[in-house]
């Protein structure tokens, strides 16, 4: 009899523990931020072309269910066709080549606090003397909780 009671109470304890754990899972945010690279105002888009010696304005449309963190952009060459591209449509690529003076740009864009939707704008100057060709335009967006979404676009510097 005693043994049965003990067994029942132990199983009861296990059930109690299992029940407790359900409570606060809804309170935490598990939603990744979003980057819209297709919307009308967004630039660059997949397969966009930009000119050497000129400037262009990058416009990153980012959103999050709670609060955005920060935006980071990165331009690096893809002369070796290494593909970070997360977009389905491929672009016309130049032949594989060896870089001489490829453009490298790394920039972080602060997002003001409390935003759930934000258009990060950044003027980017492309020096006249960099290698023309295929590049990647990598966008990283975080939210306040530390979830990160990455989009990789293929662009061409003419």
């Amino acid at each position: 009899m005693k043994q049965k009671q003990l067994l029942t109470s132990l199983l009861g304890l296990l059930l109690l523990i299992a029940a407790c754990s359900k409570k606060d899972q809804d309170a935490i945010d598990t939603t990744y931020p979003e980057i819209d690279v297709l919307t009308a105002g967004a630039f660059p888009k997949q397969c966009s072309e930009v000119q050497r010696g000129q400037s262009f304005t990058a416009r990153i449309h980012a959103s999050d269910n709670k609060e955005l963190g920060s935006v980071s952009i990165d331009i690096h060459h893809n002369f070796d066709h290494h593909s970070h591209s997360t977009e389905v449509a491929g672009c016309n690529m130049d032949a594989v080549k060896t870089p001489v003076k490829p453009m490298v740009l790394i920039q972080t864009i602060n997002v003001p606090g409390g935003q759930t939707s934000y258009v990060a704008e950044q003027t980017i100057h492309i020096p006249a003397d960099v290698d023309a060709g295929d590049y990647h335009f990598l966008i990283r967006v975080t939210d306040k909780e530390g979830w990160q979404t990455i989009k990789g676009l293929s662009i061409k510097i003419k």
Binding site: Q3, L6, L7, L10, L11, L13, L14, I17, A18, C20, S21, D24, Q25, A27, I28, T30, G69, S70, V71, S72, I73, D74, H76, H77, H81, H82, S83, H84, S85, T86, E87, V88, T98, P99, V100, K101, P102, V104, I106, Q107, T108, L138, R140, T142, D143, K144, E145, G146, W147, Q148, I150, G152
Partner: protein, 683 residues
Amino acid sequence: MLNMDIVKAGFIQQHLGGSLMQSLQRLPGVKTIGIGSGQSKPLIRGLGFNRVVVLDRGIKHEGQQWGADHGLEIDQFTVQEVEILKGPASFTYGSDAIGGAVNIKRPPLPAPQTFGGDINLIGKTNNNLLGTSINVYARTQRWMTTARFTLQDYGDYRVPADRLYIYDFAVDLYNHYLRNTAGRETGLHLNTGYIGDRVKSIFYLSHTYSKTGFFANAHGLEPRQVDVAMHDASSRDILSPYQRVNHFKALNHTSFQINQHQLELESGFQNNVRQEYNHYVNHGYMPAIYPDSLGIPRNLERAFDKQVYSLHLRDHLQLNEHKVEFGLNGELQHNTINGWSFLVPAFNQQSWGTYIYDKWNLTQKLLLHGALRYDHVHLAMKKYTDWFPSATTINGQTQQEYLVRADNINRSFNSVTGSLGFNYNTNRWELKGNIGKSFRVPIAKELGANGVNYHYFSYEKGNTYLKPEESYQLDLGAAYDNAVVRIQLNPFFNYFSNYIYLNPTANHDYFYGAGNQVFEYAQARVMRYGGELQVKYQPWENLSTEVLGEYIYAKQLSGDKKGYTLPFSPPASVLFNITYRPAHTGIFTNTYLSVDYRVTAAQNNIVPPEKKTDGYTLLNLQAGTRFLIQEQQAELSLQLQNALNTRYLSHTSFYRLIGLPEQGRNLVLSLKIPFSFKQATQP
């Protein structure tokens, strides 16, 4: 005594997986962090990496266990008996055993006046593995020698999928093969020593080597375009990226008997070298063309070289109802790094500890035990400067700077830990309880990381001011056994006052982090609880059923990720088993047929950068028998793993974040044939 599972070589033979921990993950509360089909490391009740100690024949195994793409460098064919301690075991094994310990015991000695051995042949259909492990032993009355050679060669493993998406990037798989996940490994072992009446001393020499490929279409989280024709030409070749791991060990175990004292001295030297090879990719500010003048091989992305000297002295003493163990541990580590990518600085580490452990048989039924331990650890990290300049803009002027990633930093840690517990045994019941404090000193990566892990798009930043982790744990155990039914329940409750974790922040760093998300080491209060339930019901002698359940819940109680769980939290799961052991099978003996059906729950309790993982069910079948070959008992084992070719993701796999499914159907065959040149004379 803590909650412990003991597993023998027969279990490993019956459930043989790609690596030791994969063979053991059938046990409740034991999971693995796996990479590919041949490598994994332990995850005990949701804690892994440097929170689990692997003890190999008395000496702590030291590899690069902090890395997610690291596998335990143990040849599973050498393992005759292994104890898995679920719960904090720092008081005997030191820092790092805060989550548990895997204790690989010394193999039993061959019987006197014998000479023989065995050959193990292994074949697997999923990754076309072919392997063998050959063992030879010889012993006179006083002297013994055993030697083992293991060789395994496997191809790319296959998954039940034709196409995968890494982010949105589509990857088509050729004949379901995960490109470049092939590998090969060898193990060489030589043990020799003297067995006297009062003195015993045995040397253990071993060298394990493995070369394994990483999935070619993604290195870490980064999708890669690959030369499909080149990769699909052979499923057995290993191309870039790949890793090479060498682990050498020279251990000695000596014991003396002096009056009531039994003294044991365990000493060892280990050298672990892990090299990661990859095509040079100029991430961030690295130059587009790799310079020839650097003196680092062009394809060597990272390398870690670890040399460890260990010493462990123990005295066992019987004093009336008290069994006392007194011990001293010391360890010296020398770590160097190489490669064009930087993550963790080189460092030296010295640690020593002393402990006393008392088991007190108060009555026939009641045993009390307690332990007290003191530890001191000193860590000296070495300066590292980037070999390439990074760009920064100050007052509109672009400047170039060679970044200092790590400085010469020294840290010392002291710690006092202990535990108290009881065991109460009656005819049918076994009750136990244990309460203890454990600790873990921060590792060099947690203190001194300052580099971009391009496999994860993360800039990992250490924190020199971290305190040693402290953990308080209550373990309970109740078991009931009446020969037909055995029920065992092992709940635990665990509290960390300062759990160390890598916190993905909301920020990016354009200078040190080359535009990547900042992942910073931080400390938080953490609560964890859970447990295991084991039920075995044996209505008839030849039929038994078993239910093994496990559950873990973890929650951070403070800090930036308050409310979130801990990374790599395994989902709840239940395993149902039916085993049939026919009694009369002619020339065949010890025959068994066994079905394992595992139901794994979804894991929706996640923390950045994890992804929710769906639940799944898996069916595994095992069968085996023994028969005589030349008067020797040969052992044949067959397994059909993932019998239904289920496509599923393992929440704790290295490849989970890029969504690679686990191995598909796999038929595993293993045949063990003993041979003998000289048998022990029957007394």
